[in-house]
């Protein structure tokens, strides 16, 4: 994998699900030579106090991250689409449960 200069193994990002039904959340990263050890290291490092019931490890280089400089281009267009929010609509006086 990338980062050839680093003799400390490739980087993996770690995501932990804290309890059933909620999304996995990014908690940090580990170095590991392969999938199994990435999982093992993530368990040892990020779940020493029953912080989770499920772990994802992902090679850091597989993550495509948006660039802060592109934020306007990416996120601006949604700002003027107020009709995407329920509060945009006028409900008839007296209507209930809608």
């Amino acid at each position: 994998m990338s980062n050839v200069k680093d003799s400390q193994w490739p980087l993996w990002e770690v995501f932990v699900q804290a309890s059933p039904g909620i999304p996995h959340k990014h908690v940090g990263s580990v170095h590991a030579p392969d999938k199994q050890m990435a999982m093992q290291n993530a368990r040892d490092l990020y779940t020493r106090r029953s912080e989770g019931i499920s772990i994802w490890v992902v090679p850091a280089e597989a993550i495509v991250a948006s660039n802060p400089d592109d934020s306007d281009m990416l996120f601006e267009p949604s700002n003027d689409k107020v009709y995407r929010h329920p509060t945009f609509y006028v409900m008839p006086e007296g209507s209930k449960n809608i």
């Binding site: 980062n3 680093d6 400390q8 980087l11 940090g28 580990v30 170095h31 030579p33 106090r49 802060p68």
Partner: protein, 313 residues
């Protein structure tokens, strides 16, 4: 020109108490300061395992041994959280370790003092982890996102460290005259080096200005040191131990303790390599690092072989 606008945006974010994330533009000085501070912090966690590690096999009970093992394992974790957050600034793990080995990067001077007795193990948890907590709670609000997140995680784990140390001290202080003396001796030797952990006085600290302006640090060395003293003196009194500072006095007007002079000559000596255990700590780290090289290589080779087999198979 471009730079000036970027700097303006950066400082606006800082002033608004927003976090800076790895891909955001940041001044080179900000990046450098963070790498220096975070790596020093990471190295301290890792080197700090050594003085306590010496006592695992000599723990006075199985309970004490399990606790000490868990604490030291946490410290390894703290080091790893911090290395990872430092790496988001564009420096590799290998370079970080190299800087430790060449002496370019420092670690906390406190870990260059020997741990002579079981009471010292207690004093480390109570005082050294206690001082670290004061610093780390403040750093949860640092402006760099990955550093702040690492601090939040670390703070959650630290309070057991301090409590287990204080428990050891309390037990010894209530024990035989000899045990109490051992506890007092530990605080006598470790008190001043612990105060030095917060770094030089604000007036003499070269890095404080920008670090505060850019909110890398949220409180100054002296402010943090004072908070630690004010908290700890009461804890010592409760268990019947004395803080070894004849000039220590409650200042009702300022609502804080006045304290005696810190021996900065000693601090300088230890920072520059001339503490009681500097050489031993570094030799140990180098030895472990070098003797582990074949493990890293073997695991890499095994991973490469697996990839090959996946492709072929």
């Amino acid at each position: 020109m471009e730079n000036e606008k970027q700097l303006e945006q950066f400082e606006a974010k800082i002033n608004a108490d927003s976090k800076i994330e790895p891909k955001d533009w940041m001044p080179e000085d900000y990046r450098k300061h963070l790498i220096r501070q975070i790596s020093q912090h990471a190295h301290s966690e890792i080197i700090g395992m050594q003085p306590e590690g010496n006592w695992i096999t000599r723990s006075p009970s199985l309970r004490a041994k399990l606790i000490l093992l868990a604490k030291i394992q946490d410290e390894a974790g703290h080091g790893l959280y911090l290395y990872s957050s430092c790496e988001t600034l564009g420096i590799s793990r290998e370079e970080l370790i190299e800087q430790l080995h060449t002496g370019k990067a420092k670690y906390s001077t406190i870990f260059n003092y020997p741990v002579l007795t079981w009471a010292d193990v207690g004093a480390i948890g109570w005082l050294v982890d206690g001082a670290a907590i004061v610093n780390q709670i403040s750093l949860q609000r640092t402006s760099y996102g990955p550093y702040s997140r690492a601090m939040v995680r670390i703070c959650k784990e630290e309070s057991f460290h301090q409590r287990q140390g204080y428990e050891i001290m309390g037990k010894l202080a209530k024990g035989t005259a000899e045990q109490k003396e051992m506890a007092q001796d530990a605080i006598n030797r470790l008190w001043w080096p612990t105060l030095m952990m917060f770094g030089p006085h604000d007036a003499d600290s070269a890095h404080t200005g920008k670090a505060m302006k850019w909110k890398i640090k949220r409180e100054t060395n002296d402010e943090l040191r004072q908070r630690f003293i004010d908290k700890t003196v009461q804890q010592a009194e409760i268990i019947g131990l004395t803080v070894p500072d004849p000039e220590l006095k409650w200042n009702a007007e300022k609502n804080k303790y006045d304290h005696g002079k810190i021996d900065w000559e000693e601090f300088k000596r230890v920072v520059n390599g001339d503490g009681p255990c500097n050489k031993k700590r570094m030799d140990n780290h180098l030895k472990a690092h070098n003797e582990g090289a074949w493990v890293r290589e073997a695991a890499t080779a095994y991973a490469a072989k697996q990839v090959k087999e996946e492709v072929v198979g």
